[in-house]
Structure formats: structure tokens, C-alpha cells
Amino acid sequence: MAKIKKIVKTIKVDADKCNGCRGCEIVCSAFHSTPRYSGINPARSRIQIIRHPLKDIWLPVFAGEYTPAECMGRETYIIDGKEYDECTFCRATCPSRDIFKEPDSGLPLKCDMCEDDPPREKPMCVEWCLNEVLTYEEREEEVEESQEAQDVEIGLKAMMDKYGPDKIADALARMAQKGQQ
């Protein structure tokens, strides 16, 4: 397979600096609302602050890939004497927990680094974090060319996992018929 150059976008998280304000959740949901900035709802945010104040845990986590199945096992971490709940560091949208899912439909959310046209200098959450918890970095890497799943495909895959392929096919057929009338 051919090698292509790819920009790797990274958000570095310095969790010790987090004051727990959740501004990142607010602006993420605002940016991704339609029309843009028309609605606010941290439950739709693609960044979530995992919070256990008395345990001194404020950990920003970004939504990663959707997965239809839970892991075979779980892990907990203890770092600097702080015990993190199961799956705390995991970025997946998965059946074992309710974060990174659209509250109405349950469809998975995934951080898109606030892709925009023209491109933004940095994602919203990074721009609006005034405590330098989040730092945006880009680097170029050579990778093998591969087809990345598009948004529609990811959404459909999640719907199929939830309702089964037959129901989805039926629904598509019905919608197509209505469109012809």
C-alpha cells in the first residue's frame, strides 16, 4: 500500500492544571450545534471532564472511536495514590458507559478536532481553556494509505449494531419510497 503524509493532531492534557471548570465541555457543544453556537449541552460534548473532586481527580478525556462491544476485561489505575474508576482513560464510545453519546439518539460522538473550513488554528476546547491544561500540537507522519470511515458510515454502523441490519434496510427503503411520492 502506498505511503502518504498525514498530519497527526494531538491535544496534550496537563491534568494537574485543570481547575475543573468544564468550559471545554460548554464550548465543544456550542461549536458542534447547528447552527453553530446556537445550542449548549455538555452532554453532547466530545470532551468530558471525569470528576471526583474529593479524590482530586479532574481529568479531561476526548471522545475516540465507537465500539459496539465492551472490552473483555476492565482496568483500574492507581497513579500518585489516586485510584481512577474503571475505563477512566478510555476514549471509546461503548455500551459500558453513557458518555460520548448523543443524549437523544444514543449515537456515538467523536472528537473531530473542530474541523472547519477554513481550518481553525486550534480546537475550541484548547482555545477556551485559560489554564493551559490543553495544548494543541500537529506533526507530520508517513503512514500507509487507508480508507477512513466517514461520518455517515460510523453513524450507520452504530444504528445497525443497535437495531440490526434488517430494520435499517427497511427504514431506508421506506424513506426512499416517501421521497418518491
Binding site: 481547575n19 471548570c21 456550542a30 445550542g39 443524549p103
Partner: protein, 660 residues
């Protein structure tokens, strides 16, 4: 569609368990905005003037404001309103934190609690699902313990919980409502909540809040962000550290407490300890403070660090903010931070106002030293030991008694004013730091300050920290400093006011008490109060607005922000009129409950040097400026201007408004 606000309130009848989601009139936004403004209107409309704090009809409202849950920086206050057991007037303590945003995401602007529950409950609001749940297993638990216990039993780590501790359960008049690092503390909201047998209100929401013009809104916020960054790196020179920044006082960040410990009074607002902050203390206290602070934290969508997670030695962890770190140690005359952190932890779990409560305890110690309270009052009871003789032990013993209303604690739990009258035998003379029956900051100063005189005397908040703010606390000594201060001051409503600051001298003819003049004082005090009222309707933290010098929010950007959020077509004059309406309605409500000029008095010893004639003139001038009669009652003319004719009718019918 409603913008900024949700447009629904949650109404709960605790006696019957009836729960309703009630749509609010969209017009109310135009007339009273939201937050405190719309809550005052509800109290006026629904609570008869003769309702006492512990009557069924004393409605308890938890309210968000029009900017909570939006990207507006530091819009995170929850305003709690009720008739206060201490003052008998409509109180409105506020807490920061995360609760009000969560309430709006759950789909409600306010939670309105009517009547009383027959048994202990907590309220669980999860979007459209609202339950009254049994709380009998939580009774006796600390306020912070309760919050965590509820999150665990609901398996909802992100639920926001406002809870009372034992002080609220026992209806102590200084009981607070605690929520994470925040609390609605002043004037006994915790007692009213306890009287209704509501241990906590937990909320979780995942609905949308709509912005009318999101692009315009974000543009305003982006400008504000730049200014916040500027202010955080450019503190105001020539003022004390605590006033140089933005945010609520950064008490967890700053460790140099020479100003508070040497200028505020120790004990029951009694002793000023000049020279306290000596070389030894200047090393030990900061070390003790830093030892206790695990992490600096904020409230919803606020970049500042006003709060902290406290993890001090073997003391259970808790969260703290502001001046509470010093109030217990200073009231008890205990010279170390070790006691300060331990006492504050206990007080936080009990759910106590950390301004009023230490003064009550110090008041009891004074009465004991004066022989008015005796060993009998400090003796062992059926469930508790006798009072230890050391300062620290005695103070904590008293706190325990007050929290549980045991022995002498039952009397003290009614606050200094009431307790002094119940104890009698000369105790009244030791009630020297209350206004309208409410304990004030422990400050005793030299020369009468006309601005502060008006603020202390007239504001419905009865708590100076949420009245003062935008105008410097004192004159700058040099003209150079004054010129430097005014050159960059766009927050001022009118640039011509800069002249007053330039002319203002620390002493002499152009110094206090004669300058600023009564007319100028009226303008300045009215402006500062108006800003607080806008904040309280929007539920923006005063620390980023009305309580600090040169703040991010001010009268010039507020209308644009409110318009972009809500769609309300409002300019500066329009916004002023709305909050003036609410402010006058609040005053009329308190007038209806008996408050008038006779009550508008700072403590007699607040200033050593007083000018009785000047003070009367100040008050009369300010009343006139506000459109109030000589008794401090809004005139018919004023009420008519504000479309409050129905209020004028009511006050006239009751004989309260006579010469209006």
C-alpha cells in the same frame, strides 16, 4: 422557542408530593429578566406579608439566571430566596458551583418548594423524571457527606447536589446550603430547607440551552476572554493584593494575610491586632495554608481559582473558598492555621455560614467572660461532655452545641441578635455587629465613610461583600496614582465620574466623611447596587463583575450579552429599568414586612468617629435619589415609572405608603 432561559419552572408541593413542570410567561423576561428578579416577583405575588420563616407558606426557591449554562464566563450562581429566620426579610444568598447550570440542562429555570414534607426527603431531578426520595438514612450526616452519599446511591457521579448538614436540620438561623466548594450561606436558607424536611436537591440534566444569536454571543465572550487574560497578568497597582485581581477574593491563592489579620477584628468583632503578622506568623501561616491546599479549583465555566480542595493531615477532605479560612481562628483568638482548617471542615459538614457563626460562638465566649453566661451553661449534658477550657476546645464545643441545638446552643442557634435578647441580663450590649438582626463582617473603623454608610444601611442583601465593588474602597494618596487608575476605566457608566476619583483625598475637605458628597455618593452607590442586581438576575458571579475593580462584565457590555443570549432587545437604559423594577419590588416586599428607615443603621461602633447629622442627610439624599420617601418606602411616582402601580396600591392599602 425560549433563549437563554429555559421557560419552565419545577413546582413541588412538599406536603402532598405533587410535582409540576410549569411553563413561565415569556413576558417576565422583559419585565424582571430572571434569577433574583423573577424570584422576587414570585415571592411578592404568592407569599403573604405575615408569613413567618417557618410557616408552611414560606416558599423556598432555587433559581438559575438567564446566563447560566451558556458560554458566559463565570455565570454559575444559584440564587436561593426565602423569608429569613434571622432578619424576617426576603433573603437571597447565592452559591457558585455547578448546580444552576445542571438545573437548566435538566430543563428548568427554578425549583420552587412549597409547604413542608411530613418526613425527611431529598429531591432527585433527572431531566423529566423528578422524585421525592426518602432521606431518613441521611439525617445527621454532614452536608458534604450527604452530597457524596446521594451521588453514590443514585450511581450518578455527575449529579450536582445542594445539601444541608445538621445545622440546617436543627433550623439554626445561620445554617447554610452547601454544594461542593460553594454554599448559599447568609441568613439561614439551610434552616428553612431543614424546616421543610428537605435534606438535599440533586440534579442531572442533558438537554439543550438555546442562544438567540450564538455568533454574536461568542464574539462578546471572545473579547471578554482577552480581557480576563489581560487582567490575570496585569493586576491593578496601588491597591491591596486581594483587590488587585478579578474573581471572588483569591483567598486560596494568596497567603499573605497581613491585611485581614491586622485590619479585621478578632473575637466577636472586638479586637484589632496590629502587628499580628510578624516574622514568625508570616512564615507559619502561609506554610499552614499551603499544607492544606491540595488543588485550586473553580466553579462552572470560570477560569479563576477562588476555591480549593482541602486535604489537611487527618482531617477529612473538603472544599473551601474565600475568607472562611480565617474566620473561625480569628473569632476564637487561635493563632494557627491548624485550627482554622480543622474548624472550617467541621463547620462545612455541619452546614454553617462561616461569617455569622464564628461571631455567635465568640459572642458566647464574651458573655461567659463577662459572667452573663456561667459554668452551668457550659456544663455537660445528657449526650455531651462539659466544655473544655482551652480556646480551641471551647470553640469547637460551642459549635457542636449550636449545630445540634443542645443546651446553650439552642439559644445561640438563633443568631447574635435573637440570642442576646433571649439571654438578657446585659447580653444585648454584646450584640454590637448586626444590621437588621444579621451578623456583619468583623470590621470596626475610624472615620465614617459615606459610601459605605449608604451601602450598609440600605441594601436588601445586608452583607457588604455583595453590595460594594466597582468603586475603590479608599482614596489613592497621590494624584499620579489616581490618574493612572482612571486612564483605563471603560467600565464606568459616565467618564465624567472620573473627576470624583481624581478629587478624592485620603483626608481633609475632599476626604471622608464629607467627600464624596451625598449627591455623588448616591450616584456611585446606586451604580454599584445596580450592577449587583444585573449579576443576580443573570446569576453571574459578582467576583467577575460587581464585586471587583474594573471587571470583565459591566453596564456597557451586559446589554449586548443579554440580547445575544435571550433575544431581548434591551439597551443600557432598558436594562437599568428592569433591574430597578426588581430592586424596588424587593424593597416594597421588605417594607411590607415592616422594614423602614428605622432599621437602616450600621452598628453604632462600626466607625469611631460619627457625624449623625451628615448621616441623616446622606440617607435622605439617597432615598430621594432612589425615589423613596423619607421613610425609605418607594413613592407612588417611582413605582408608577417602573410599572409597579399594583405595588403602590398594596402599600397604600396597608398604610405603609402614606406621603408618597
Amino acid at each position: 422557542m425560549r433563549y437563554g432561559e429555559v421557560g419552565y419552572n419545577l413546582e413541588i408541593d412538599l406536603a402532598t408530593g405533587n410535582i409540576e413542570r410549569v411553563e413561565t410567561d415569556p413576558k417576565i423576561l422583559e419585565t424582571h429578566l430572571g434569577g433574583l428578579g423573577t424570584s422576587v416577583k414570585l415571592h411578592w405575588d404568592r407569599v403573604p406579608a405575615n408569613v413567618g420563616p417557618f410557616d408552611d407558606e414560606n416558599m423556598l426557591i432555587f433559581s438559575s439566571g438567564v446566563l447560566n449554562a451558556t458560554p458566559a464566563f463565570s455565570a454559575n450562581r444559584t440564587v436561593v430566596t426565602f423569608m429569613s429566620p434571622e432578619s424576617g426579610l426576603l433573603a437571597y444568598p447565592m452559591m457558585g458551583g455547578f448546580w444552576s447550570a445542571e438545573l437548566k440542562y435538566a430543563g428548568y429555570d427554578k425549583v420552587i418548594l412549597n409547604n413542608k414534607s411530613p418526613k425527611w426527603v431529598y429531591i432527585w431531578i433527572n431531566n423529566d423524571k423528578v422524585e421525592l426520595r426518602d432521606a431518613s438514612h441521611l439525617v445527621g450526616k454532614g452536608a458534604l457527606e450527604t452530597q457524596d452519599a446521594i451521588r453514590r446511591e443514585l450511581n450518578q457521579p455527575n449529579a450536582q447536589v445542594a445539601a444541608i448538614g445538621p445545622a440546617g436540620e436543627h433550623r439554626c438561623f445561620t445554617a447554610s446550603i452547601e454544594q461542593g466548594r460553594s454554599s448559599a450561606s447568609r441568613l439561614g436558607g439551610g434552616a428553612v430547607m431543614g424546616d421543610k424536611k428537605v435534606k438535599a436537591v440533586a440534579v442531572r440534566g442533558s438537554k439543550d440551552i438555546n442562544l438567540f444569536d450564538g455568533e454574536a454571543f461568542m464574539k462578546e465572550m471572545k473579547e471578554m476572554m482577552a480581557y480576563i487574560n489581560f487582567r490575570n497578568t496585569n493586576p491593578i497597582p496601588d491597591v491591596m493584593t486581594i483587590l488587585s485581581g478579578i474573581g471572588s477574593p483569591q483567598e486560596m491563592v494568596h497567603t499573605d494575610e497581613s491585611w485581614h489579620t491586622e485590619n479585621f477584628m478578632w473575637g466577636n468583632a472586638r479586637t484589632r491586632r496590629r502587628g499580628f503578622w510578624d516574622e514568625k506568623v508570616a512564615v507559619e501561616w502561609p506554610r499552614g495554608q499551603l499544607e492544606g491546599i491540595k488543588r485550586l479549583i473553580s466553579c462552572m465555566n470560570c477560569p479563576q481559582h477562588c476555591g480549593a480542595l482541602i486535604s489537611y493531615r487527618d482531617t477529612p477532605r473538603y472544599m473551601a473558598k474565600c475568607f472562611g479560612k480565617l474566620t473561625y481562628a480569628m473569632a476564637a483568638y487561635v493563632d494557627n492555621m491548624d485550627f482554622a482548617w480543622r474548624a472550617l471542615q467541621r463547620a462545612t459538614e455541619y452546614g454553617f455560614d462561616s461569617f455569622s457563626t464564628p461571631q455567635i460562638l465568640a459572642f458566647a465566649v464574651e458573655l461567659y467572660e463577662a459572667g452573663i453566661l456561667t459554668d452551668k451553661d457550659f456544663a455537660a449534658g445528657p449526650n455531651y461532655p462539659a466544655c473544655p477550657s482551652d480556646n480551641e476546645g471551647r470553640f469547637l464545643w460551642l459549635m457542636d452545641r449550636v449545630a445540634h441545638r443542645e443546651g446553650i446552643g439552642d439559644v445561640l442557634a438563633d443568631g447574635v441578635y435573637q440570642a442576646a435578647r433571649r439571654i438578657g441580663n446585659g447580653a444585648e450590649a454584646f450584640d454590637h455587629n448586626t444590621i437588621k438582626k444579621h451578623e456583619q463582617l468583623p470590621l470596626k473603623l475610624g472615620t465614617l465613610d459615606p459610601l459605605y454608610y449608604l451601602m450598609y444601611a440600605t441594601n436588601e442583601k445586608i452583607s457588604i461583600t455583595q453590595i460594594e465593588g466597582n468603586w475603590p474602597q479608599g482614596a489613592f494618596p497621590t494624584m499620579e496614582q489616581r490618574e493612572k487608575f482612571v486612564e483605563d476605566w471603560p467600565q464606568l457608566p459616565d467618564p465624567s465620574w472620573k473627576q470624583w476619583l481624581l478629587e478624592w483625598e485620603p483626608r481633609g475637605e475632599k476626604g471622608i466623611p464629607f467627600f464624596p458628597t451625598a449627591d455623588i455618593c448616591s450616584v456611585i452607590v446606586d451604580w454599584m447596587e445596580m450592577l449587583h442586581n444585573i449579576d443576580d438576575a443573570c446569576c453571574v458571579c459578582a467576583g467577575m463583575s460587581s464585586f471587583c475593580l474594573k471587571p470583565p462584565y459591566h453596564i456597557h457590555n451586559y446589554p449586548k450579552i443579554i440580547r445575544a443570549a435571550t433575544g431581548l432587545d434591551v439597551d443600557e437604559a432598558g436594562l437599568k429599568k428592569i433591574v430597578n423594577r426588581s430592586r424596588n419590588l424587593h424593597r416594597a416586599l421588605n417594607n411590607r414586612r415592616g422594614m423602614s428607615r428605622k432599621d437602616e443603621k450600621p452598628p453604632a461602633d462600626h466607625w469611631k468617629r460619627r457625624w449623625p447629622e451628615l448621616e441623616e442627610n446622606l440617607l435622605s439624599t439617597y432615598y430621594k435619589f432612589k425615589g423613596w420617601n423619607d421613610d425609605g418606602i418607594p413613592t407612588r411616582e417611582r413605582l408608577h415609572e417602573l410599572d409597579l402601580d399594583y405595588v403602590a396600591d398594596d402599600l397604600e392599602q396597608r398604610g405603609i405608603l402614606k406621603n408618597g
